[in-house]
Amino acid sequence: MEYSREIYWNVGQQVVLPMYILSGVSIVLMIWWGFWRRIKIYRNGKPLSRWDKVAKRLGDALFSTLFQTRVIRSWGAGTAHGLFFFSFMTLLSGTFLVLLQEDVVAPFFNGRFLVGKFYQWFSLSLDISGLVAILMLFGFVWRRYVIRPEGLTSNQDNWIGLSLLLLILVTGFVLEGVRIAATEMDKDLRFWSPVGLAVAASVDDLGEKALRNVHMVIWWTHLVLVMGFIAFIPFSRLRHLILIPVNVFFRDIGPTGKLVSLDLTDESIETFGAESLSDLSWKDILDSDACVSCKRCQDRCPAYATEKPLSPMQLMNQLQALAFAAPNKGSKTESDTGMIEAVSRDAIWACTTCRACESTCPATIAHVGKIVEMRRHLVLMEGAFPGPEVMAAVNQVEINGNPFGLGYADRGGWAKELGVPTLSESTNVDVMYFAGCYASYDKRNIQVARNLIKLCRAAGVRVGILGSEEKCCGEPVRKLGNEYLYQTLAEENISAFKRYGVKHIVTNCPHCFNTLSKEYRDFGLHITVEHATTFFAGLLAEGKLQLKQQAFECTYHDSCYLGRHNGIYMAPRALLNAAGGTIVEMEKNGMEGVCCGGGGGRILAEETLGERMNTRRVNMAMHTGAPLLASSCPFCLTMFEDAARAQDIEENIIPKDMLEILAERL
């Protein structure tokens, strides 16, 4: 006998029409009443085109949703969510296959495919999926209501959603069990639905009439629950089912972390940055609505971890609440002009733009851009800074091209005794070294610059500098919101590069690197810009740079702007290994690396709130037991030296730039 079953058993074909009407109503309700009004609110944001590369966007949205790629990156809850999703999708496909056969293939083509061996496995996989889904749901409930991880927020959406899902799954099994009890107890097929069979065994003795009555009631209950679930989606956190794939579709597809350059030439524009929600784009509002409060960003935020008043997740929640507080108005409303105060200035200034939040967000929310937009408002429209020390530093960048207030004419002074030519003296060089402010002026980082020159020379690379014609790349002031000063600096630097026909720039500062290679493109700079680590890794691979292996042990700190912003994780490690280094990784490394506290212009600011980020990171390095903390960023080095000094642990852990380690092994 061929395995199969009678679809619409007991309820009969007459349920098809009401079933479809009910589904239609709930779906229309979801879309029109639920999402349409949300879309209207998103449209309060400024226009932004995200319709380029549609195929790539679509592919990414589908792939990352179906395979849960961004969700399962986080072990534990992420894995459980992935398993639940896969199970639920299996169940959903099962239902669709049934509908496809019964309401399309059978009536119009007179065929059936849910038969035989296929049906056996179909039954088994649905049964297992249902079981896994229920187990995962219990896991969710256990985590949310028993373990209660720090920072996880719950509201009624959570218990309603979880209850609905549980009831849908349980009623599904009851339906199956009742049907098996009534129709399949004599067939081998029943063993292909083990969970259903277990239910069937417990209700077997009710008798067919009772079973049929129970079945009828449960069937409708199950249907109503499912429809209710669908209608509930837009009105609860469950909207992430729709919004996250949509958000992934519309996400910023790079270059990673690149900020939007403001058009400062258009004189008709008189406001800059974001004071209210309507100054942000529709995508920013969508971001806030797509946030499901999974708190992964908050768990990784260095500001949050050091008791600053910033949490990327809470920021999204605040923006979302503002956006929906006065839903029916188009332009600036009373509630949304208070965005800055709602978020709080301290929170806005606390961000180090390290991208820990963005890189981990399963919904691909862009937190940093919003914060920078708010900072742009504060600096460009109010002349406000996180503190007077920052304003003084910014003024100094304006006057002397460096935040220290040192004479611009001395910028190349460090290189004089090394005989490094400035390009005004000779353009006969292979690469131009863009030293940046720290390596130009800070005694400690000048040592790093000198070692870079040493390494270049050992590899036979002729290197020149701009000297007094170089200016701050503008990264810290830009991240603080001062787009105007940044653009002035960018234009001056680019015109200097062009004046000397520079074709290849090397820099050891990841902030300069990120800015020159990525952000300066908006101002017409399209030349090769390399960070020292990849540059020397390349020379090492080509055999031009020879290092004497000398064993040592160290830990390596990934600079945010090298790692998360530019994906450079391997080159520095390869170099350290080539120099004879054994790297004892910190628990948080690579993508999960923790900011030193110097990013986002914070290097210029006093850290007055909470624990110091640099101390926290140095302590993590201490835990590895390695005597050496290698890094490849002048900000990181400065922050770590400060932290090691302040705690008096310089004997236990020595912060070094990795170029110094390499140069010792020439």
Binding site: E389, A392, F404, D442, D642, R645
Partner: protein, 305 residues
Amino acid sequence: MKALIVGETRQGELLNASQEGAAFAEIIGAEPVHFLVGDKENLPWVRGPIYLADVSKYGEYSPNVHLSLLLEVVRREAPEVIVFSHSSYGWDLAPRLSLQLKAGQISEVVDVRDGAFVVPACNAKLRRTIRPLGDISVVTLQAGAFGPFQASEGTTTVIDVGTDNTDTITFSGYEKDATGDVALDKAEVIVSAGRGVGEADGLTLIKALAAVFHGEYGASRPIVDAGWTQPNRQIGVTGQVVSPKLYMACGISGAIQHLMGMKNSDFVVAINTDKDAPISDVADVMVVADLKQFVPVLIEKIQGR
């Protein structure tokens, strides 16, 4: 040549202006005549006659009235040079007088050279020698530049001077900072503690050294971070930027953030065990010594001087 030296009284106290002006007059070989709005019971110990206006009548700060009094003395004495201290009193009153006399004024004189006066320029990065062009000139002296004239006895002649003029500028009292803000940027001497002081106790030594100079004490970032002193004493990019006449960096290695806060000091003494510490770049004198041994001896020497 005759020099009219303008003295100063503040909060009932006689200041050093007369003594320093007398020392200056001696250097330029001028015959000293003094002027003071003060109290006849409390006169400076100087040579030469002193024109005294009663401070209880003319006030400590009443620039237009003091100007009238001065003009009267100038009319009587016809000095070639009129000497003020470069102080809040002197730099306020001197230009008023020089305008009335059409006299060239040279501010903040630190030295005299061939009848011309040397003044600092650009945060003491440069020195400028200025020559007055008229028959009469007005100078203000940098405080302390001309060591106080030491007289063994008080002045012989006191001449009362007065005026009926009143002032349109009203002085209505002194105010002392109630908040106890640390005026590091105004201190002439700052003794600063760095991590090299060792422990919180080390700071006591630094405070004592600051006290013998009548200066203030400051600190580098790690000291503040460690909670050994208040953030309002932090010197550096993220703290206060100072330019005292003497900056003593004790146990400070000289991180750039710190150097930026004190590099404009007139004279820098660094005390450190490491003579190559970055602070040596900006130090005029680098004392290679252990603070705990050196500072107590230094305090003793200065006090016993």
